[in-house]
């Protein structure tokens, strides 16, 4: 064990993410104050997993190490022109037509069409 650097230790806000099992992604659960990465993980273990049955992994990330967009620039997210062509909506109409014109294995179009 190595001694920490001299002097009063600042505490940082850490965002905590937990992964419940190998099939899941890490989810953001909450944040806490800690002096360093290891303490953040140690505290997260008891603060956010007190009642959880399964968890296989914890991430701790300092809030000031996260890059984020500003809130005061709404134009960054502006959508003022129609972009419905980007929606995968045409496939539903296609399916209706396929059903109407498809010849089934036992022959003939589907009943009622």
């Amino acid at each position: 064990m190595t001694l920490p650097p001299e002097g009063k230790a600042p505490f940082f806000v850490y965002e905590i993410f937990i992964q419940r099992d190998h099939a899941s992604q890490h989810e953001h659960v909450y944040s806490l104050l800690a002096p360093d990465d290891e303490m953040a993980l140690v505290l997260a273990r008891e603060n956010f997993l007190r009642r959880e049955e399964t968890c296989i992994n914890i991430w701790a990330v300092r809030r000031d190490h996260i890059a984020a967009t500003p809130y005061d620039d709404p134009d960054l997210f502006a959508r003022t022109t129609d972009r419905s062509y980007r929606n995968p909506s045409g496939y539903r109409q296609n399916m209706v037509k396929w059903r109407k014109y498809k010849v089934l294995a036992h022959g003939g179009p589907e009943e009622g069409e």
């Binding site: 001694l3 140690v42 273990r45 008891e46």
Partner: protein, 266 residues
């Protein structure tokens, strides 16, 4: 298996289990006194969890005792007077400051780690299984307290001074953890537990850490690389039933509700 035991052996196992439970109960209660008082809010929550873990471990041992002797775990936990307790005096010491609490738990959890390794080898199956389960949970405790010990040892800090003062009181009191009782000797003699030197194992775990941080340490490094008890012992006799007013005060609080109506159903 237990049917083949002599009454003396059965009594020895009961006393041994009692001592295991008593220490966890005392420590768990002292830990619970930090609720709302820890210097850091996330640490307060973590501490509450840890104290619950310790009580849970006590309950496990009390269940074994109940299965063996037919005594009710609640009555055992809350119904006895201090002179019937077999916990080392270290665990009943009143809480000091945060550094004191961290240091006590660090020292005791390191002791528990070597003791649980020992108990896992027991020929008494329920105890070996309980020890295996408890050891897995204790792993987090060791990580938690080692992490805080390191941070409190920060050079040129108020925390470090408080930690050094706390170790001054606590290190001699750790001698009370290594007193071999008559029950232990009976169990080892009967082959239910191997003969071990827990103190040497504990020193090997604790001394490198404390030395590495430049803190007072209970051992002196020998030429052959082993650690020897530095000397000085206080607060002994707890395992043999010699308790102090500390435990009396602890029980007065812990048992207050139970004592008002021991026959009540909860």
């Amino acid at each position: 298996m237990t049917g083949q035991w002599s009454p003396e052996l059965r009594q020895a196992i009961a006393g041994f289990l009692q001592s295991l439970a008593d220490e966890k109960l005392a420590l768990g209660h002292r830990d619970s006194e930090w609720l709302g008082h820890a210097p850091h809010i996330e640490e307060d929550v973590a501490w509450a969890s840890i104290s619950q873990d310790e009580i849970g471990h006590a309950e496990l041992y009390l269940q074994l005792l109940g299965d063996l002797m037919g005594v009710d775990p609640d009555a055992t936990a809350f119904g006895r007077m201090p002179e019937a307790w077999r916990s080392a005096q270290l665990l009943a010491l009143p809480n000091g400051d945060f550094a004191h609490a961290i240091a006590r738990h660090f020292l005791y959890d390191q002791y528990d780690a070597v003791r649980l390794e020992w108990l896992r080898q027991s020929g008494y199956q329920p105890l070996a299984e309980a020890a295996a389960r408890i050891a897995r949970e204790e792993r987090y405790h060791v990580v938690h307290f080692s992490a805080w010990l390191t941070r409190l040892a920060t050079p040129a800090s108020e925390a470090r001074q408080r930690l050094i003062a706390a170790l001054g009181e606590l290190l001699p009191a750790c001698a009370g953890l290594f007193e071999r009782t008559a029950e232990e000797e009976l169990l080892c003699g009967a082959g239910l537990l191997p003969w071990v030197d827990l103190q040497t194992q504990w020193l090997a775990r604790v001394c490198p850490v404390l030395d590495g941080l430049g803190l007072p340490s209970p051992g002196v490094l020998q030429a052959d690389g082993s650690w020897q008890w530095r000397g000085g012992a206080s607060h002994q006799g707890g395992r043999r039933g010699q308790q102090t007013a500390d435990l009396q005060a602890l029980l007065d609080v812990m048992c207050e509700v139970y004592r008002q109506d021991p026959a009540a159903h909860w």
